[in-house]
Assembly symmetry: C2
Homo-oligomer: 210 residues x 2
Amino acid sequence: MELFNYFRSSASYRVRIGLALKGLDYTYRPVHLAKGEQHGESYAAVSATRLVPLLVDGELRLHQSLAILEYLDETHPEPPLLPRDPAERARVRALAMDIACEIHSLNNTRVLRFLVKDLGLSDEDKLRWYRHWVESGLVTLDAQLAQAPARYACGDLPGLVDCVLVPQVFNAQRFDCRLDHVPQVMRVFDACMALPAFDKTQPKYCPDAE
Amino acid sequence: MELFNYFRSSASYRVRIGLALKGLDYTYRPVHLAKGEQHGESYAAVSATRLVPLLVDGELRLHQSLAILEYLDETHPEPPLLPRDPAERARVRALAMDIACEIHSLNNTRVLRFLVKDLGLSDEDKLRWYRHWVESGLVTLDAQLAQAPARYACGDLPGLVDCVLVPQVFNAQRFDCRLDHVPQVMRVFDACMALPAFDKTQPKYCPDAE
């Protein structure tokens, strides 16, 4: 398999964790988002959306990190990223989407660029926007984690929510967001970071890290 | 089952379509987002996130529309919303998330409110923001639909992507977005709207429609 990704991309990091949890090897293909490589012709030849991450598995080209993680879970079931029970699976997916849709989607590179370049927002207002969604979104997540505390986000093994939570905390730290108000999130983050699958795949260890 | 939702909420409409495709009965519970009812105590008692839609199924309370639709598909498999093959399932999920994460997340009510009330954007700039994500996001979707044209978004039966595509087109029309540049999207939209599951659940027929 090949993973087209960017060291700092939160969605890319999710998939790196998932691949590591499954013990799957892959070739790392860097796409430098800050330099705009995703808009170049060579990436257009493999990606219809110009987004990262993109997983190539034989003839298949898969995008959207959560869809990729579900695909990996269906094709390599052990260890599982999602529980078996439909109600528990729904809770896991909902928590993952609380981060992916309600926080991260609002704060990715192209969105921040549009706010500044096209709408003329100041850097200060851009940061206010960024922190608002991270800090309020993580409060909602924290409250839900507190309803069913476990070693990891949703049980005694790391899974889909952890793959999404850890990169979001990395982003929050990079933008100096408040995190002292979300103790459940940080407890899960620390538990995950003690595992090689989360630690060894973090941005600073990527081949394209700066 | 009970569905807490709002007639105009795109994510709510997705679930109404899914329930209708499955032929499932439910009690319609309106939550008036424009009046701020999601922040009231009565909704806080059932919803941890204060978002709609929320599906109540016995003891279960499920949020996030895509997680709800996957739950319905797992607990009521016929007719299926997702194909069986893992690669095809991944494509379906990715296209659904191309709308849910890359378009809709940026344009929901609370995001637009933050842009205007907290960041002081003009109504004109708010519209520019809205249309940018809709019009560019649908182009990406259109190109992907063109790669494997079918009666509906991903095959000869309506499924998950159609549940997300149709409400997004409704939103686009409400905000006068350009749609003449996405012929595949509009072809699928028209095919869906010929079906009662999409037509009868549309905003204007909801009990709380204005």
